[in-house]
């Protein structure tokens, strides 16, 4: 994976000192919170319901054992012994003290990590396929481009105060594991007829209160022109977006209002201009960065055989492991969704254990997924039994990837100052209701996503079943949505009808699942059945 050189290190160190100075000025009263807020947000520091919250960037979801140990150390030393993996492949801490935040950033900088632009009206941490560099179906590792984009978009002067946040994703396979088209700007690496690598470009996606699925705005962009193209997109948006209503300032609104054709036309015009300035990063720089992502030294001739006589182990292998590009290896997913647990939460001790296991079994590499799980990307198949035993010893061996209990949930009203309703207790009740693995496997792939407010951090628009918490006259109320997807057949979930209380929404969800089981055809996933039969039958089943 990428390694900082003197320049990267100097930039991150400078950022720490800058924030130390800004924090000192805030505490001394030289700034009020209104002035300080944009500065702390650009360093990932929110003021949440109970304390400050710090969101640490995990660029494109790739990190290593040393970094994980540092994250554990921070959880133990500066927080309350745990962290929370987010839907943008980041980790956040819930109990941070402002006066200690600069020290935490300094600790992160010692392991080549930062919290730069993880919040605020800025270009956020770039996300990517969590299996990048390991997936059997990728045409190339997308992370060198993601890292290059990280560098070109950090501290971009012209875009110091964008209209809103701006989220980028990069993938390199047909199967979309990164919810590409729910991003403001997204790149899928493709090969053209001449065999050259380039980007298929999407723009204008996003969730929030006005969800839009991104449009394809270009079939093929030469990779070395990405800086010009990105500047063009950002400039068109920065100049033309509304500035009078924060809810209408995301780029998706501009794309929608101008129409995809006119937006693309303006982008192409600005793109031509930027190309003429000669500011693009050269191929040599991509090559330099790509060299850090050469595959680890995979062993040849490994056995593919596994003793699956233990049904619990067999279930874990069946559900949690995925085909690897190297023979004899597997991608191992670590579920952060134990039944009754908090989706995405992990204790400092578990973090340390995962770091150890990454070193022992996965060349030290770890990935964070947008579904709030972890991945050890390069595990020898012959090591899977030992890995499973070790995971089991620390409560991380649940087998439920993409099943009904593998729920994405935002922190909700238990932690978040924007939330209208709690998300986590709903996720817990659903998981408890469907805890039986045999039943879960019978139901099959079913992605449930829960948000505690319309900002949609829990991706409810993209849930096969989505749940949206709202405030109904001071009490929590939950709307049920069906038919969303974040994969390559992206779709937006639709509201079924009137909302429910907490127990009511769990019951309604179960009725929807039962209806699916009653009407599905062989081989159909929940989403397939929904797409075939439509909303009406589900509605009747839900509102009996």
């Amino acid at each position: 994976m990428y390694k900082y050189d003197q320049y990267d290190q100097a930039m991150v160190d400078a950022r720490v000192e800058e924030f130390r100075d800004q924090t000192r000025r805030r505490i001394a009263g030289h700034m009020n919170d209104d002035q300080f807020k944009p500065l702390r947000l650009k360093n990932g520091l929110y003021l949440q319901l109970h304390a400050y919250m710090l969101r640490v960037a995990i660029p494109y979801g790739t990190f290593n054992a040393v970094q994980m140990r540092k994250l554990a150390h921070i959880a133990r030393t500066y927080d309350r012994g745990y962290g929370h993996f987010t839907t943008r492949q980041n980790i956040q801490y819930n109990w941070i003290k402002l006066e200690q935040a600069p020290d935490i950033l300094a600790e992160l900088a010692t392991v080549e990590m930062h919290a730069i632009q993880t919040s605020g009206e800025s270009i956020r941490n770039v996300s990517a396929d969590q299996y990048a560099g390991a997936a059997a179906d990728e045409i190339i590792d997308p992370r060198p481009w993601a890292e290059t984009i990280r560098q070109m978009t950090n501290f971009m002067p012209e875009f110091s105060y964008l209209p809103r946040k701006f989220k980028i994703a990069v993938i390199a396979s047909k199967v979309d594991r990164a919810a590409l088209r729910w991003h403001d700007f997204a790149l899928r690496i493709v090969r053209n007829e001449a065999g050259e690598i380039g980007f298929e470009v999407y723009a204008g996606g996003g969730m929030g209160r006005t969800p839009f699925i991104a449009h394809k705005i270009r079939d093929f962009l030469p990779t070395t022109q990405i800086f010009s193209y990105l500047q063009a997109v950002l400039r068109v948006w920065n100049r033309n977006a509304r500035r009078d209503n924060i809810h209408k300032q995301r780029m998706k609104i501009l794309v929608h209002e101008l129409g995809q054709e006119e937006f693309s036309r303006q982008v192409e015009e600005a793109f031509t201009h930027f190309l003429s300035l000669g500011q693009d990063f050269p191929q040599a720089e991509y090559d330099r960065i790509a060299a850090y992502f050469t595959p680890p030294p995979f062993e040849q001739g490994l056995s593919e055989d596994l003793d699956l006589s233990d049904p619990a182990f067999a279930a874990w292998v069946r559900l949690q492991t995925v085909a690897h590009q190297a023979p004899g290896y597997a991608i191992a997913n670590i579920s952060l969704k134990p039944v009754g647990g908090i989706p995405g939460d992990i204790s400092a001790d578990q973090m340390d254990r995962v770091a150890d296991l990454a070193e022992r079994f996965s060349f030290g590499e770890i990935r964070a997924t947008h579904a709030q799980n972890l991945v050890l990307p390069h595990v020898r198949k012959i090591d899977l039994p030992a890995l499973w035993q070790e995971l089991r010893a620390v409560g991380l061996a649940d087998a439920n990837l993409d099943l009904v209990t593998d729920i994405i949930a935002c922190p909700g009203l238990d932690y978040c100052s924007l939330a209208n309703a709690r998300s986590i207790p709903v996720a817990q009740k659903i998981a408890e209701r469907f805890a039986d693995l045999e039943r879960q496997e019978d139901i099959g792939e079913l992605k449930i996503k829960i948000s505690g407010c319309i900002n949609a951090c829990g991706h409810h628009h993209a849930g096969n079943i989505g749940i949206l918490g709202v405030d109904k006259k001071g009490t929590e109320n939950y709307q049920l949505l069906l038919g969303g997807s974040g994969d390559e057949e992206t779709s937006q979930a639709k509201i079924t009808g009137p909302g429910f209380d907490e127990d009511g929404v769990v019951n309604a969800l179960e009725r929807a699942v039962d209806h699916y089981r009653a009407v599905r055809q062989p081989g159909e996933r929940f989403i397939d059945t929904y797409r075939r039969v439509g909303m009406d039958g589900f509605k009747e089943a839900i509102y009996v």
Partner: protein, 98 residues
């Protein structure tokens, strides 16, 4: 009653105006009547509180109970981590929120 809440500037901890200073405990909160704006302006200027706001609450047998669930969760802590609330010894404390 009207009570004032905010966060401590340096630690971010949820605080309640007890008539003299900012307390971590909602049961210390006092009715500020018509003085909310004046107290908030003074305390904010002195960097003793961050983002203060006034809320409705009622005095019950158990103490001060904020009218809105959000402020009850602020007063207590996350309902899904009773061990991290201000009343970790009381397993039923989550019910106070609802």
């Amino acid at each position: 009653m009207k009570v004032l809440t905010g966060n401590d500037l340096k630690t971010g901890a949820v605080t309640w105006w007890d008539g003299v200073q900012w307390s971590l405990h909602v049961e210390d909160a006092v009715d500020v009547g018509d003085h909310a704006d004046a107290i908030m302006a003074r305390e904010q200027a002195a960097q003793r509180v961050n983002g203060p706001y006034a809320i409705d609450a009622e005095k019950t047998a158990d103490g001060v109970r904020p009218a809105h669930i959000k402020d009850r969760i602020r007063a207590l802590g996350p309902t899904v981590r009773p061990d991290l609330t201000l009343k970790p010894a009381d397993p039923e404390i989550g019910n106070w929120v609802i």
